[in-house]
Symmetry: D3
Subunit: 293 residues, 6 copies
């Protein structure tokens, strides 16, 4: 008798962990961490979850220890891992801006370009990628692995420059540093082992997972909008509505009015509602969405 | 002049307290705890709330100190209370699995069945129920009241076995124990005093409360799903949809498409959406529900 | 080249801060506090936010340091500021009752009316307003600024009475005090500088902001209700529904039933649902709203 | 080959735990709790520690599961355990006043004496002791086990009186209660199993432990005082000093002065120092003591 | 029958509270705060404690509501209170540097001296003192009461300068400010009401309190040092020892050596010990002191 | 004009940080961390402190970025740094047992010796040292850098063995692992740059620092013991006392008794005191020591 087939899925431990588990919950999978959390419980008999550092994930997916996993584009490149990139999942722990690995120096230093750092010492957690970057630029530098608190190293006199990840640049600036180059934009990726991707059961499982994760992510920036519109105002209203999806229209019990329902980007709503109101829409309501496929 | 009639309602203090207050909020009643919390405030002039230990609740409902209350089936049985069981409300503080009182022994002990414990010492908070259980099984044991940390008692050498409540069994196992019997499944119950149940005002109040509590609980596992479907794909889509309730269908402004809306179990969604998508449904959105009656 | 025009908007720091930022988020503006939070980031290029104590806000709006701001009616009066009151925004940090500034004395003191305090010492943070109140009443009292913990001052023997803000009166009572007069009901207000209000760009911006803030606030006490109704029961159901807005009605795929959807006050739902159910409505669902305009 | 002999010692879990471990540390034994704390580590190969609820301790010492333990006099009486009382160790978690189990009723109730409660319901955690107390007084009452938050039961209308432990009476009063009788003063006790007490190895171990625990406790209320005194002032100074122990006197390098050193109660120091100073003592220093035997 | 005489003593609430209570504990008085802390308990029947804001203390001492109290020199001056200054007690919540009220402006502003601020707006909590300061300097400025977060006001554009208290200047600098003048050094003071100071009982009580508080404060910067010295090295060692108090010298059992004991400033120890060691002192031990009178 | 000479001293950031700062405080140096903590403040004008990861410390000392620093023996070896080892300072964050880097495998695996791991994958933070260890043993293994949570890697199936640091072995065991070899015992070390060690000013500074640090560490395990002894019992008592240092003896004012004072290991006290008491010593007191040189 054979073991039922399972997708071995890596969930990133650490800074992305809570956001990832929340995204899975919105997508339809509940992951429960137990106190001794080697294998978190997931309510899907076809999946076995493992917690794994984002830094190490692609290594384990490449060698097949895991079939698929979520990790950052940065660490896939740092590890130079040969994996299938299924999709980009843009979510983060702090802001909605993309995370960037930047080269930063003391604000009051003379360095303006990467070339100015020839012969200098650079501290970073992304050692291989940084070395490649400077080799490609033909700038000889000493790249040292930083065990953390990298931003402080320049001010402390322990390094001449750093390569560090940032979303808003606030922390970099607060440490008295100046960004002189952006080396890499990064975001979370769903990756798969090459052999697993060729296995129909596993591929189908990964693709469905991807569809739901994307649907839940998309829903975060969209909302449902519903309003009542007098029939004669309909053309003007329709002109105003963004064309993302066709609106759903129904007659009101009171026959001269229509009910109009659309899905729109949440960021447009604050400008759209005053205009809709001016054009005669009434009873405008906005509601949240869990998924949009 | 007479006092306005009020339903005296017991809210369980302790581990179920937050979940209960949250459930009431979803059901339409806001309960606010004050610092000296003898009588929490509730936004319903017909109800007076009291906080009360789940262990003692049925005692107070039985004697009429309270008209109704929420507590566990386990403690109703332990107290052997003569009350009206209005309904079962399945919610818990940890997981969605039912809580069970189990008989557990040291993992490396020779005990395999309750019968093997003849002459031994059993620690539990559920003393009366446990005594009855072993008397019915005609196994003579010494049952001792445990003041807490019951799971540790076997390893500490203070008892031969324990009877303790668990949802997932994780804590039991983590203490080096092995479950050898399940004595009782339990869940929260809405109970009423017998005389209060015969009073029309109080009974109506309890029944309405029950309807809304059930409606809020049901909504936790259901979601609304809305999608646009080409008219010709409608039969295939209808075949796929679970038959819980008839879908609501409306025509889109663009006449060849229909808008379809259903309420489905959240646990089905991750399998349903990929199939709906494959059959041609578009603009699929999912939204949350507060109550489903 | 000119600087792009911006609305300088004051956000109240302190007890109202979290509630205000949450309200803005629901209204469509994300405000992000940074560690050194002089100027919180807002996702609207037309607005520049400043954090500012509620007590000082109207001073800065009056002099034009800020174009608009949110603060309490109490502090506008205390500062006697000449500003445009755009609207009242009733939300608070604790309850849904209006906050009131009350005059309170020791529970066991002989004082029953403000007049009884002639010649006595009153501690308060609202010094100017309190002085005006007693002057208008022609009761001579000494009003002293209280640096905090005002409720304790009477029991500690440091004052004869206090003027303090309260929502439920619980804290006042818990300090052994008795309320003998209410001096002022207060709530949050959106205020504008007079010159800014005459500037078309700024006024439009403030009005739109107001519309969305009001819409988000309104949504907090309303919910959407949707149900399926047999056609012949429609008149009875329609009679029962509150007339806030006309219901949206659509035919079900199964032709003898109608889908009915309304927006109602959340506080009515727990009474409405049992009646709808009795009249034959089925598949009643309730869902939350983000905004209602 | 035989197991080395060990004293099985029970440490009270819960409210006394931290104070007990701190007292042992001052006495010379380091107890370290581990995450799964069945058997805390102690730096003495002759002792094996167990954590055990104070309520259950005397039961386990009586039956020999433990050789000795620390627990309250109250729970020894409640369990009616036949054990050796080695000594009283007066320390507590809150104040330096002895803890007392008191009978308390609503402040505004008519009850003035235990006799007034005939036929009433009394809630307590100390059921057996309370029953005995009222039986001895020949007052028939119903005593019910309280699962906690006992102080609230009278105000909540769930009991007519309570028997509860208190040090300062503050909590009792804050719950609107009035104390009408003191049933029992209690403090921590070191107790031993009768057989263990007859075993010379174990008895010696328990006695030494007792000597050091007493020495550490005594040191908490004593301090060392050292001062320089002109020889001719010596008699006056000697008269003033409490006679607890003879002072240690040495000559100063500068021959006309003496160095005087004593151990005194800390509570006397604030009155003693001004007088010593007046009498001519100089360079008065006070230092802390770890143990005083 | 008369009430026993008591000293009404004000303890500063807020930032100095914990440090003050700790200092009293070291001095010999235990102050215990209760949950409703109008009158903290003190273990001295001659004293009744009140908690009181440092800002208001001198007002209450001046009018005799309190007999004595601890508060800052700054607030005594701000309130312009006519009280007896018994002594300065130099302790603080952060560092051991004196707290200073400074005038600070934006680091990149052109202001260099107080005179440069003529016609500008200054925010501070110390309004009266600041007004007097500028009046004395004949610089016309607008001084506005700041409700807190004063350091942020300049950067936020709400004020041109601030007057704020600081110990290290770190926070001032971190807010992008530059100090251009020091207006006042402040520290805690023990103050007394003038009439209370004339009452022999109260004055004696205040003086003894002062002696012990000073003794405990002094002990914080002193330590006891004890060492064994060969008799022939005694002169060299004696030369080295600071002359604060004469050392205590005793003969060792082994007659050629002396035991030498002194009290020295803790800050000298790290330099003194290596020198003593070099000169032949052995068995050098250092111990802490609770009080030095 | 030249800069005053300073010793650049590295303080380990992270797990050893608090223990190190506490040790310096006991030794006579106060280190204060500021919010932006590049250069913590130290109350010695001759020293400039830097915070630095223990893992990187020896690298910075070797190259002269720092003159001296405290770090672990393990990381000095891992970095293979050429520095002066001034002394071993045995203190830790958890227990008083030495920390050890051990090789651990799954408890139920067949591996018994390092040799059994030939061809396997080993996860560790100590990559270089581990590689050298296995090369010396001529066992070919793959050593992978672990980004943390190393103990979980074997159970998670991500590695075959780990090399990890432990004091008690408890965590290792709790993760289901078995230790099969100890690779290295480690402790904190004071290290110096080779050139700095040749500089007389810096060397003197380092040596004095070392003397005081050692003195403070030694004091942690020693206490002072003082007692009164009848002259005739003196020989017996002297026989019993450990010979660490000669006792200080003085005559009591009451001439037949002697005062005896010694410094002894705290761990001996609990056995010594009962014996001293039995031999007739009285008024035995124990007190703490800050430093013992």
């Amino acid at each position: 008798m054979t073991q039922p087939k399972k997708l071995k899925l890596g969930i990133p431990k650490g800074s992305l962990q809570d956001a990832t588990i929340a995204l899975f919950e919105k997508s339809g999978w509940k992951i429960r961490m137990h106190h001794r959390n080697y294998f978190p419980e997931i309510n899907d008999p076809d999946i076995q979850c493992s917690m794994c550092r984002a830094q190490e994930m692609s290594r384990y997916v490449e060698t097949g220890t895991l079939d698929a996993g979520l990790t950052g584009k940065d660490w896939i490149l740092e590890n130079n891992s040969d994996v299938v990139v299924v999709s980009d999942l843009v979510y983060s722990k702090v802001s909605n801006r993309p995370a960037r690995w930047v080269l930063a120096v003391a604000a009051d230093s003379p360095y303006r370009r990467p070339q100015d750092l020839a012969g200098k010492k650079i501290a970073t957690e992304l050692v291989s990628f940084t070395k490649s970057y400077f080799e490609a630029a033909e700038v000889p530098v000493a790249v040292e692995f930083s065990w953390g608190a990298t931003e402080a190293k320049v001010v402390e006199g322990l390094a001449d420059a750093i390569v560090e990840v940032t979303e808003t640049g606030t922390t970099i600036k607060a440490h008295g540093l100046r960004i002189i180059a952006e080396l890499l934009q990064t975001n979370t990726r769903l990756i798969a082992n090459k052999a697993a991707w060729e296995d129909p059961f596993k591929r189908k499982k990964i693709e469905n997972l991807d569809m739901l994760l994307q649907g839940a992510l998309r829903a975060e920036s969209l909302v449902g909008l519903k309003m009542n519109v007098p029939e004669e105002k309909m053309p003007a209203i329709m002109n105003l509505l963004p064309s993302l999806t066709a609106p759903t229209v129904a007659n009101l019990y009171n026959k001269d009015w229509l009910s109009v329902e659309i899905v729109v980007s949440e960021s447009l709503v604050r400008d759209l509602i005053p205009k809709l109101h001016e054009l005669g829409a009434e009873g405008i309501i906005e509601y949240s969405l869990n998924k949009v496929i």
